[in-house]
């Protein structure tokens, strides 16, 4: 079996937003839509203050609440743990948006471009009308993962088959791999650290782990 997951080392993240930019570049998301975002959090009270960064995206849950509520079966969880959306089936009812406790999904109702109504050249090439009026979210760069089946490369190890955000991370804060592979980098990192999964109490079984301290 395969269970792809992401491990985010919060100790390493510097909030540079390179992953955010890499995601937008890789997936051509329109203005206002971020499948990957990094929150910049200031907490505490002067002089005892703290700044933290929280990379967020779809958690590709074990028990995706979005899949349960989807009336069209457009949202599906694959055997490798990735949660995908079939844009041809989705009716844009937004039930999945309501079901997701991670604020990971977006619906765009009209084409939006960076500079007004008309797309610039790169936007015109990559604009996908199938993504209008349907639910969209982070796919873990599903095309790259699927490419691994053809090339024999290993997601999380070989950049060609690894999510763009992970490839781009300048501090090595993001790791991607197969939790069922005993030699995977993600399993090794989890065994060496203390970590948590967000909103785990809701029973979603998120596929993104956050490292906060050494073991």
């Amino acid at each position: 079996m395969t269970r792809f997951a992401m491990v985010v080392d919060l100790r390493r993240c510097v909030g540079c937003q390179t992953c955010t930019a890499a995601c937008k570049h890789a997936n051509a998301t329109p203005p206002g839509v971020q499948w990957r975002r990094v929150l910049d959090i200031e907490s505490g009270e002067f002089p005892d203050v703290r700044r933290s960064f929280l990379p967020m995206a779809c958690m590709h849950c074990d028990e995706p609440p979005c899949e349960e509520v989807c009336p069209t079966t457009a949202t599906k969880k694959r055997s490798d743990g990735l949660v995908s959306i079939d844009y041809e089936l989705c009716i844009g009812c937004a039930n999945c948006v309501m079901a997701c406790p991670y604020d990971a999904r977006s619906i765009v109702h009209e084409a939006k471009f960076a500079y007004g109504d008309k797309p610039i050249a790169s936007e015109a090439i990559r604009f996908d009308p199938d993504r209008i009026n349907v639910s969209t979210k982070c796919t873990f760069c599903i095309d790259r993962i699927d490419l691994a089946h053809e090339t024999g490369q290993i997601p999380g190890v070989d950049p060609d088959v690894t999510p763009a955000c992970v490839n781009s991370c300048i501090s090595g804060a993001m790791q991607f791999g197969d939790l069922d592979d005993p030699d995977s980098n993600v399993l090794r990192l989890l065994s060496e650290t203390q970590h948590f999964r967000m909103h785990e109490e809701l029973g979603t079984g998120p596929g993104v782990y956050y490292v906060w301290d050494r073991a």
Partner: protein, 305 residues
């Protein structure tokens, strides 16, 4: 370390949902009333009441709600895909129940057969329940997924249905009004208990501050106009100081109007999402880890001040 302020991270706070607008709310508003009306209208036929007027109005209300939501979905011409996931989606089940309901409802109006009418009533009840489950299965909205939300939505749908029937009974003679008024009074009490239990449950189990504020703001108004006034009207009617039929009808108008306001508020204004949280703030360098952070939830660290 006391965490009393979270800045530059509004995305972390629970935010009011923006994807379901008044059209989605209308589906719950009209659908719940329509389903409740069909249920009680079917039961009332056993006491000699006619079914045609409440049947037509009940079906029309449900159709209006579904039409509204059809205009809301992003890809309306693919709407038939809604039937594809009956194994777990309550939206699919609602659509399926609605389809059978309309077939059965039109047949019952045409043939006036008792069995068909009663089946239509049961399907109306199933429609109300399906709608309540649509809300309760949405884990991203704490105010909806609370276990006491479902009984509240079902109870208000049924109470509204009885309220509408109370108005329609003004045009029907020969129907015993006293037991029906007592039934409406009982439903008003049940809805109030469900509402109180829901609010208490949200407060004790935790919910986004925004949801608690919106629901708390309508608390007194809902008690006064949705429960106290209708109960008083029915009591006056029962004691003979006024026509019981008219008293029940006015009470019905009050419970319907306040029920609609409740559902609109629940869907549009009180539906704050989960927000994000950190169970531990990470270690930085040689420092120590920080405490948990869950802004926007009363009683939890990191609430915005």
């Amino acid at each position: 370390m006391k965490i009393r302020r979270v800045t530059n991270s509004d995305r972390m706070m629970p935010r009011a949902q923006t994807n379901w607008d008044w059209r989605a709310a209308a589906n719950f508003v009209f659908g719940g009333s329509g389903g409740g009306l069909l249920f009680f209208a079917a039961l009332a036929t056993l006491a000699g009441a006619g079914f045609i007027a409440p049947g037509v109005i009940g079906l029309a209300l449900i159709a209006t709600g579904l039409t509204c939501v059809w205009f809301e979905i992003g890809r309306p011409f693919r709407a038939l895909n809604v039937y594809l996931h009956p194994s777990s989606s309550w939206m699919t089940r609602e659509a399926t129940v609605a389809t059978v309901l309309f077939a059965c409802g039109f047949a019952s109006l045409w043939f006036q057969a008792t069995a068909l009418i009663l089946l239509t009533g049961l399907l109306g009840l199933a429609f109300v329940y399906s709608q309540a489950r649509i809300l309760s299965t949405n884990k991203g909205i704490p105010a909806w997924r609370h276990r006491r939300c479902l009984p509240l939505v079902v109870s208000t749908g049924l109470t509204e249905g009885a309220g509408l029937l109370a108005v329609l009974l003004l045009w029907q003679s020969g129907v015993p009004i006293v037991p029906f008024a007592l039934l409406l009074l009982a439903l008003v009490v049940v809805r109030y208990l469900a509402w109180r239990a829901y609010l208490d449950g949200l407060s004790s189990d935790g919910a986004p501050a925004g949801s608690l504020a919106v629901l708390g703001a309508m608390r007194d108004r809902f008690l006064l106009f949705g429960h106290a006034a209708p109960a008083l009207l029915i009591a006056i009617g029962l004691t003979g100081f006024a026509s019981l039929a008219w008293a029940a009808a006015f009470a019905g108008v009050a419970v319907v109007a306040t029920g609609w306001q409740l559902k609109y508020t629940l869907v549009r204004r009180a539906a704050f999402n989960q927000g994000l949280s950190l169970q531990h703030l990470p270690v930085r360098g040689a420092g120590a880890p920080g405490p948990a952070l869950k802004p926007g939830w009363p009683g939890t660290p990191g609430q915005k001040v």
